[in-house]
């Protein structure tokens, strides 16, 4: 394999791994938030806001990884 092929391969695998992490994180977050809302529907609004903030932070960290993947794929 050439270096170029390796760079493309690593970009693809890296993007996939980052998405697995983000998917797991946001999935667990949403599950807990729904359980909490089910237990105490009155607090639904606050729980939703906190959930979105946490989801946005997870997404942000994932995007850092994806930026590295894009750099690998374009600068290779």
């Amino acid at each position: 394999m050439t270096n170029l092929a390796l760079a493309f391969l690593s970009a693809g695998i890296g993007a996939g791994l980052a998405i697995i992490g983000a998917g797991l994180g946001i999935g667990k977050l949403a599950a807990s938030a729904m359980e909490a809302t089910g237990r105490q529907p009155a607090a639904g609004g606050d729980i939703r806001t906190s959930m979105i903030i946490a989801a946005a932070l997870i997404e942000g960290a994932t995007l850092f990884a994806l930026v590295i993947c894009v750099l690998l794929a374009t600068k290779a």
Binding site: T49, I52, I53, A56, E59, L63, F64, L66
Partner: protein, 346 residues
């Protein structure tokens, strides 16, 4: 004396009919086509449905040389290009995304002029537009500004949050119309927006805690022996927030458009119209998802801006760091009491 020279190359709105029908049997380069469409460009291309022709509107190119003769055009194999900022040429050209930003700002100002409720004798807004805007404005004020910044300080920062929310929303929505482009799918645009939030956050922090308190906050409140570790970490933390804001908005808007284009591009890559039976409904689905994402991303950007400003405002209250969050959970009168008690305490 250095002369500030403004070069106007290319005439505004000089329309050219560019025809480029692909040769028979030529493989269409779908990825290149998509990237060309999503990227910024010095001209607006308006495709004519049902033909291979498009109208190209060339936009004015404004180059300001910081050094004498720095903006001389260079011939490369990609055609005529201009040197970058490092070579001393400041490029302030109007591009496709700039035009979309102008358009979004114009639409925003226009629609608010029409639909804002300026007649104070009638407190109830009438009509769909006025009610829609009232709903969104009240939502940003009550759910984002007051809940995250606190009752006392929220009115000061609400105008900025409203501006940023509606501007991003309009730019996101403009990209979903045919012949338009998404300005928020350009990293420079989102970086500039995040920079505004960053500067405002720092100003809010300095206002709340004073310059000394602001600098003291950068040390994390630990023993001075730990400062060499804490200060770089805190400074890094300052810059990752706007960076995450930039990348989130940019990546979300860009990715959605690329997915729509690729689903439609599958038809051409496979070379069969039958693929369209699957691809077009899928693209429609993604399109509606994009409509939702346009709102969500404007909301998330505003929410996080409010949150960061709230954290900076809370910097002034050293004995009570959970101040902004506490406010969020208190309703009406309780929050007011808390605010008063706080005012006495500080």
């Amino acid at each position: 004396m250095r002369k500030a020279m403004v070069l106007f190359a290319g005439l505004f709105a000089s329309s050219v009919l560019a025809a480029s029908p692909p040769a028979e049997g030529e493989k269409e380069d779908v990825p290149a086509y998509i990237l060309h469409h999503v990227a910024d460009s010095p001209e607006i291309e308006i495709e004519i449905p049902g033909s291979y022709e498009h109208i190209a509107i060339h936009l004015p190119q404004i180059l300001i040389p910081l050094k004498e003769g720095a903006c001389a055009p260079q011939m490369t194999d990609h055609g005529e290009t201009h040197p970058g900022l490092l070579a001393g040429c400041l490029d302030l050209s109007i591009t496709k995304h700039t035009v979309m930003m102008f358009l979004a700002a114009l639409l925003l100002v226009g629609s608010l002029l029409i639909w804002s409720n300026r007649d104070k004798s009638k407190l109830v807004p009438r009509g769909v537009g006025a009610n829609l805007f009232e709903m969104l404005v009240v939502f940003v004020r009550d759910e984002l500004a007051v809940k995250n910044i606190g009752k006392e300080e929220a009115p000061r920062y609400t105008p900025y949050l409203l501006t940023v929310f509606f501007f991003i929303l309009f730019m996101n929505m403009l990209g979903l119309f045919p012949w338009m482009a998404t300005a928020t799918g350009n990293v420079a645009v989102t970086a500039a927006l995040a920079l505004c939030t960053f500067v405002l956050t720092q100003i809010a922090g300095i206002r709340a805690a004073g310059l000394g308190g602001y600098l003291a906050h950068l040390t994390g409140g630990v023993h001075w022996l730990l400062w060499p570790i804490m200060i770089p970490v805190e400074i890094l933390g300052l810059f990752t927030k706007p960076f995450a804001l930039t990348m989130r908005l940019f990546a979300n808007m860009l990715a959605g458009h690329i997915v729509i284009f690729f689903l439609l591009g599958l038809i051409f890559m496979m070379g069969s119209a039958a693929v369209g039976i699957v691809a077009v409904p899928f693209a429609m689905g993604i399109y509606f998802l994009e409509l939702f994402v346009a709102f969500v991303q404007a909301y998330v950007f505003t929410l996080l801006s409010a949150l960061f400003i709230g954290m900076s405002v809370a910097m002034g209250h050293h004995h009570d760091h959970g101040h902004a969050e506490e406010h969020g959970h208190k309703e009406g009168g309780a929050s007011h009491d808390h605010g008063k008690a706080h005012f006495v305490g500080s």
